[in-house]
Structure formats: C-alpha cells, structure tokens
Subunit: 247 residues, 2 copies
C-alpha cells in the first residue's frame, strides 16, 4: 500500500479512505498484513483524484460513477445518465413544478427537434436556471438560451465523437464519465478565457490603468450585437490588461 501511495502520489490514509468508501477495489491479499496492488489500482486512483479534484464530485457521486465504469453490461445511455447525474446538483431536482421556465425549455427542445426525455437532469437543471433568471428579474438573460444551445450542440457532438472513437466497452464508459465530468470544467474554463478575449476586443483598454471602463455613464457599447465574429481578427494584441486580483 505504501508503494501504491508513493507511485500515485495519494497519501496512505486517503488510499485507505477510498478503499473503505468503495472507490478503490481491494488489492489481492498476499498475507494477513500484506496486499498487492497493480497498475489498475494506480490508474483508478488517478481517475478518482481527477473526478474529485478537477471534476468536483463528491465521494458518493464518484462511487456511483465508478461502479458504472466497472459494469461492462451497462447500456451506453445509462452510463451517460449516471455521469450526468453525478455532476448535477441533486437539490436542483426537487420541487420543480411546471411553470414558465419549464415551458421555455420545452419550447427550446421542440424548436430544435431535440430528443430529450422528461427526466433528463439537464432539462430540470436548465429550467431551474431559467427560473432563477426570472426570479432575479433578469428575463433578458433567458435570451441567452438559444446561443447556449448552439454551443451545447457543438460540444455534445464532439463528446459523442470522442466516445465513438473508443475501442472497448470499458474504454467507452470511462471516456463518457471523464468527458462528462471533466468536460464541464473544461468548457467553463474555456468560457472564461473567451470572455476575457471578447471583453478586451469590445472594450479595448486605454493606457491609463485607473481608467474606469464602466464608470460614469454608458461605455459607448460598440458592436457587441454582432455575435458571429468567429473569425478572430488580430485585434488589440497590445495593451494587455492583467485582471485585478481580488482584494
């Protein structure tokens, strides 16, 4: 066990914890006080850390998801389902009654001819977010839905293509799980980068570091309503603004 810990970089007490919690299968017992672990334990440990640290899963969710990875006879759709649920916060599911938000999501699904089952975690989650937009009195944010859905289609296509490229069933399941769980984090990160890029493109920063872009009055709002500028011109490769650090 100490060697497993050394190779994987996970502290021995944590390895014990994962064993106890059922995330990591037990090693082959060689003696009453010896157990042997193999490569599969090392890679499982790495997957565990990725799910917990990068994907932000709870131990309980990770256990469910790993059980699915180990189950060879599980239909593909079910793997997706479990992986999706593991990253969705359960509290969002409760007490969602049909309302304006649900109608908006239903309309979106219909418009796009999407095939989405009523119990899909995303459907309920999306309705929850729309509901939140309405509750905080920002209905204009609901208008983001269409472009977000465009982007979601692109990402989902890529996800499925990655899954289809897998050789065996276990590989597929692991790809689905890793792609679903870590993909959320990856997209969120890329979104932040793209946001900074677009921001600096729309609101080029003046040389004065204390320049208050938003202060005073409306900041002249350049052509921010031209959203399909997917050809990034080599604009403003100068005057690079480091983000302010939180005080």
């Amino acid at each position: 066990m100490s060697e497993l810990s050394r190779v994987s970089g996970v502290p021995v007490p944590s390895v014990k914890f994962y064993l106890r919690e059922g995330l990591l299968p037990a090693g082959r017992r060689a003696a009453a006080n010896q157990a042997e672990y193999g490569d599969e334990h090392v890679s499982r440990l790495r997957l565990i850390r990725a799910l917990l640290d990068v994907g932000g899963l709870s131990v309980a969710s990770a256990r469910e998801v790993l059980a699915v990875v180990d189950d060879e006879d599980r239909p593909l759709a079910s793997v997706f389902d479990v992986a999706q649920r593991s990253v969705s916060r359960a509290d969002l599911y409760s007490a969602r009654t049909p309302g304006a938000a649900e109608d908006r999501i239903d309309a979106l699904v219909e418009e796009r001819n999407w095939h989405v089952s009523p119990g899909n975690p995303g459907r309920i989650g999306a309705a929850g977010v729309v509901d939140a937009f309405l509750r905080i009195d920002r209905p204009e944010l609901v208008g983001l839905l269409d472009r977000y859905a465009d982007a979601a289609e692109i990402v989902a296509q890529a996800d499925l293509a990655a899954v289809a490229g897998q050789e065996d069933v276990t590989g597929m399941a692991e790809t689905i799980v890793a792609g679903t769980v870590l993909g959320d984090a990856m997209f969120a990160a890329l979104r932040r980068m793209a946001q900074e890029h677009v921001t600096t493109r729309l609101y080029p920063v003046s040389a004065d570091p204390s320049a208050d872009l938003a202060g005073g009055s409306r900041p002249s709002t350049p052509d921010a309503s031209a959203p399909t500028a997917s050809t990034p011109d080599a604009s403003t490769s100068h005057a690079h603004t480091p983000h302010a650090s939180t005080p």
Copy 2:
C-alpha cells in the same frame, strides 16, 4: 424581518445568517427592536439564493461577488474577473507549474488569436483539466479542446452582448455576475440535454428494453465525426428512451 422572510421565502434564521455574513445589507433601524426592509432587500435575497442554490457558490464567494455588484466605480473587466474567480475552484490554481498541459492551452490561445492574460482563471483551470486528461491516460480527450473552444466563443459573444444591452452600471455588473455564475449551470444543463439528443440520434434504441447498446462489441460507430450538424433534421422522433434511474 418576518415580513421580508415571508415575501422572499427565505427562513428568518437564514436571513439573519446572511445579514451576519454581510451578504445582505442591514435594514433601516426604525427602533431598537425594529428594522425596515425594502424591495432592494427582497431582490437581493433572491439574488443570494440564486447564486448559492443555482450557481453553487459558497457564502464567501457570494459575499465577494455581491460586493462587486454594489461597487459602482469598478471597471467592467474587474467585475468579470471577480465573477469568474467566484465560480472557479480555488484549489485548482495552486501548484500549477508549466508543462505539457499549459503548452497545449497556450497553443490554443495563439491559434485563435485570443487575448487572454496569464492569470486568467480559465487558463489555469483549462490547463488543470488537460493535465487530468493526460494523467488518466486519455490524451484523445484533449482533442475536444478545439470544438469546446468554438462553443466557448459563441457563448462568450452572447454573454457580452447581453451585458452591452444593459442600461446602467449596476445593471451591467449584476448581469455579468448572474450571467457568469448561472451561465455555467445553464450551459452544463443544455449540454446534458444535447448529449441525450445526440446519443439517441446516433444510437437509436431498439424496442427491446434490455437491449445492450454498448455490450458485446463495437456498436458500429455511425457518422459521429460529422460534428457541424447544426440543422437538426427531424430524425427519430419515435422510440423515446427514458433514462435509467440510478439503482
């Protein structure tokens, strides 16, 4: 206070808690044992609940973000920065040393002529995810980056357009915060829906409910590599598979 609680639907002890934690400004003291609250307190409470429940922020992050919303003299980029950091898990920032993952992200940024500062939370987060992909020995998932970046650009354009549509500075800041924090949740939800849609389109389900889609051998991998099917044909509006529930 009890009326505020009743109108907003937040329990009195929680209101007290948010007051204590500095998320909610104190009401006007009318007497030693009376305080008066207005509409701004109600909407603030709703925003707090949206950030905590839907956005999944911690109380500490919500406090930072709300302080930014209240600060009228803050540059636009700084508002984005704080909002972005609030949704990024801080532990991902630590101990990231330049490596293959960072190089991959740098290459992406260069390819796209993106303007992203080195300290951008997304940059570090994306490198962390790529690193995780490599560590769990799934380098093929790194290939998702390009399509994800396409999608991220679309979303960021939409985000900025929504911000530019705002009237006043406070409105802009609130839109940025709500859009950034809740937008993550919204995209993740739409991604789940799109995944189910694409899955059922690629792997139409047979009538037999016990059909094992992934079992046995490779599932014939249809044209999953045609990712730009942004015009959803009216395919497979039949044979609707409810997702399996977690056992």
